[in-house]
């Protein structure tokens, strides 16, 4: 059987940079003051500014959906548009949707709990319940675009994005799909933010309007990133990057496993995809040096992506590609704890 290497042919995102098709302008964004709920003093996070999905994608209906579902729809539309795909020309039974999430549809889950708190469990809302399910965003993407291939929602501690990207590439490599829409994202809600705060995980930058050092800790972020994956060369279309291989693991010997995956190749660029939580203090740079030599250029994680603690990998990748990193082989690399890692071997055109 011929091995089909997947390539990234489309990018879409709904992030604190706004809803965008393609690469993201390399301007930095600052955390916003949270106004969606009452706070005791200043609280900041990287927030998606309110916008009407229908103003970005005419006719798109997102009423009564969780924000993650609405953003997934917008991001998927923008990625498909960026890839120049006319879905009417595509066999949509062969298009997969693979979505990564950390907290699922947290906004409506909270609303459901609130309803139960007020009315009791016997008085909950039947319209809200199905929209609380973690796979609702991927399901809505399939429904709107009529995508009838595998529809998968995964969560992987720290590496949800990387896991989704690797598994989507696997579907294409094994001929279980001819195209995949890969999504990753989360939303900040009162309960999510409070959890970080009570657990003492937040950076001082969350509580102050004064600038603090960029590496001082964790500022939560939100949004959804989307990629279109296709077998390389299946259409005459621009490729942002080819996906040669990928691995992630909860432990073991990262350098050994990644070298084995690279199969003798040495990347000339490392794209670090760390999250902003305390576990991001793991030695990614040292690992990068072990694999590619200590002089290898390393693109450090950007706070706006690092704030998407469980699902930042895709946004890290998009931001790195937006920096026009040149051609050659690159390694998207994230670590967690002592030996947890995710590594994706990329071919940049």
């Amino acid at each position: 059987m011929t091995v089909r290497l997947p390539a990234i042919t489309g990018i879409g995102s709904v992030s604190p940079h706004g809803p965008l098709a393609g690469l993201i302008p390399t301007t930095s964004v600052q955390p916003d003051i949270i106004a969606a709920w009452t706070t005791d003093g200043v609280r900041r996070a990287f927030l998606v500014k309110k916008f009407s999905p229908a103003s970005v994608i005419p006719g798109l209906k997102t009423r009564r959906l969780d924000r993650v579902s609405a953003w997934a729809l917008v991001a998927s539309c923008l990625a498909i548009q960026d890839a120049g795909i006319d879905l009417t020309e595509v066999d949509r039974s062969r298009v997969a949707v693979v979505c990564a999430t950390g907290f699922g549809c947290a906004e409506l889950t909270e609303a459901f709990f609130q309803c139960a708190s007020v009315n009791g469990w016997s008085g909950t809302d039947p319209v809200t319940f199905p929209e609380t399910l973690a796979n609702a965003p991927a399901a809505h993407v399939a429904l709107v675009h009529d995508l009838r291939g595998p529809n998968i929602t995964v969560g992987s501690k720290t590496f949800s994005s990387e896991s989704a990207l690797i598994q989507a590439a696997t579907l294409i490599r094994h001929g279980q799909a001819d195209m995949a829409i890969v999504l990753a994202g989360d939303t900040i809600t009162k309960a999510v933010y409070s959890w970080y705060e009570v657990a003492n995980l937040l950076s001082p930058a969350c509580f102050s309007l004064e600038p603090v050092p960029a590496d001082a800790g964790f500022v939560p972020s939100e949004g959804v990133a989307a990629l279109v994956l296709e077998p390389a060369g299946s259409r005459e279309v621009r490729s942002y990057a080819g996906l040669r291989s990928g691995r992630w693991a909860a432990g073991g010997h990262p350098a050994e496993a990644i070298r084995q995956m690279l199969n003798g190749s040495i990347p000339n660029l490392i794209i670090r995809a760390g999250n902003g939580a305390p576990c991001a203090t793991s030695p990614s740079d040292r690992l990068a040096g072990e694999i590619a030599g200590y002089g290898v250029p390393i693109l450090q994680p950007q706070p706006v992506a690092a704030g998407l603690a469980e699902t930042g990998g895709l946004l890290h990748l998009i931001l790195a590609l937006s920096n026009r990193p040149g051609s050659g082989q690159a390694l998207l690399l994230a670590t967690s704890g002592e030996n947890g890692f995710a590594a994706i071997h990329l071919e940049l055109p």
Partner: protein, 402 residues
């Protein structure tokens, strides 16, 4: 499927079901025809219906101090049961991965008060309980318990989750991501989901009657199942006992409605056909289908139509039953539990009937199993799952000799 490096086999099965711990109790309970569905009034004030609960859950120390949800505990116990005879210290075991499915996850640990003042609820002890909420937590729990350091992820695709976890683990195995994969699903009964399905008027207050014309809805249950998957080459190398061969798997989506299945079951039929294509078998070779069979009016008709679409070319109707009639719908665990039951059917040569099925839906292509357990050799059998959001998954298992 002659390449032993590309043939996926099952070498361990662990189960926690309303029958108790282990495959032995599940098998004995189902062969006796005992239903675990019973009236339940205590899950939340005002609820009255039938559920199947796991009683006398064995003690499981919390280990590193992190809180475990009931879903985590069920998952860890099933996983430990699956690897009872394994050498936990060997390299292959330690490098193995985990794909666990859940829909409930840590929702069972969270109180409605979180919706009012979350910070206060965390300060009153909710912080560690809420840490079990992220989808990934159940897979992390299992991997930590077993010392498996390979790829680790959770799958949450509503009621198709458990079967999909097995399909994704098989994909990772073929990709060479790990020498072994532990795959399955776990879900606990909790007020959140019970209330949700109740609000949708999807629950039958009495024990459910899948595929019956007088069916009125589903019952919720709880449990967990875990399968150890490895390549036939790997299994032979370590002298493992092969319990079954995973001959084919497929995943599709209906893309027709957020909650209801496609009326004609087109997506599910396509899924079953794809799985048969991978298994390189024809519809006549499938000796039994363990159905999704929830007992809801919409699901069962759509599913019956799907069987018409997938098995219309058979020379005789395909035997089908819903084992949710024994212990309800275990949501994210359902597909994994039903995979375990399908393997049991193959190994015992026993086709389990649907309980309480007296007046089945009319179908030209289906032989609805009811009454007594049917005894016959079963070289190949299929387990199908479907869920909210239109997801479908099909798994085909064969005997180790098939």
């Amino acid at each position: 499927m002659s390449d032993i490096h590309k043939t996926v086999v099952v070498t361990g099965i662990g189960v926690v079901s309303p029958y108790g711990m282990g495959m032995g109790r599940l098998e004995a309970g189902m062969l006796s025809g005992k239903s675990c569905l019973a009236p339940c009034h205590d899950l939340y004030p005002g609820f009255s219906g039938s559920t199947a609960q796991v009683y006398e859950l064995p003690f499981l120390a919390t280990g590193t101090g992190s809180h475990l949800s009931r879903t985590d505990r069920l998952a860890a116990l099933a996983a430990l049961d699956a690897v009872t005879d394994f050498d936990h210290k060997c390299v292959a075991f330690r490098e193995s991965g985990v794909v666990m499915a859940t829909t409930v996850g840590g929702l069972s640990e969270i109180d409605p008060e979180i919706g009012q003042d979350s910070a206060e609820w965390y300060r009153r002890g909710g912080l560690s309980r809420a840490s079990t909420y992220p989808v990934a937590h159940v897979a992390v729990t299992v991997a930590e318990r077993l010392g498996m350091r390979g790829p680790n992820c959770a799958v949450s695709v509503a009621c198709a989750s458990g079967a999909m976890a097995i399909a994704l683990a098989a994909n990772l195995l073929l990709d060479g991501a790990a020498p072994m994969m532990l795959a399955g699903g776990s879900d606990a009964l909790c007020p959140f989901t019970l209330s949700g399905f109740n609000s949708l008027q999807a629950l039958d207050p009495d024990p459910c009657r899948p595929f019956d014309r007088n069916r009125r809805g589903l019952n919720l249950g709880e449990g967990a199942a875990a399968l150890v998957l490895e390549t036939l080459a790997g299994a032979r190398q370590r002298g493992a006992n092969v319990l079954a061969v995973l001959r084919g798997w497929a995943m599709t989506n209906d893309a027709s409605h957020p909650t209801a299945p496609h009326k004609q079951g087109i997506g599910l039929a396509a899924c079953m056909r794809s799985a048969m294509e991978m298994a390189e078998c024809g519809p006549d070779e499938i000796g039994y289908v363990n159905a999704h069979g929830t007992g809801t009016p919409l699901n069962d008709v759509a599913e019956a139509n799907a069987y018409e679409g997938a098995f219309s070319e058979r020379s005789r109707p395909v035997p089908v039953s819903s084992t949710k009639s024994y212990f309800g719908h275990c949501l994210g665990a359902a597909g994994a539990l039903e995979a375990a039951i399908t393997i049991t059917a193959i190994r015992c040569g026993a086709l389990f009937p649907t309980l309480r099925l007296t007046n089945p839906i009319e179908s030209q292509s289906v032989d609805w199993l009811r009454g007594e357990v049917r005894r016959q050799p079963l070289p190949l059998a299929m387990s199908v799952s479907a869920g909210f959001g239109g997801s479908n998954a099909a798994l085909i298992f064969g005997s180790e000799r098939a």
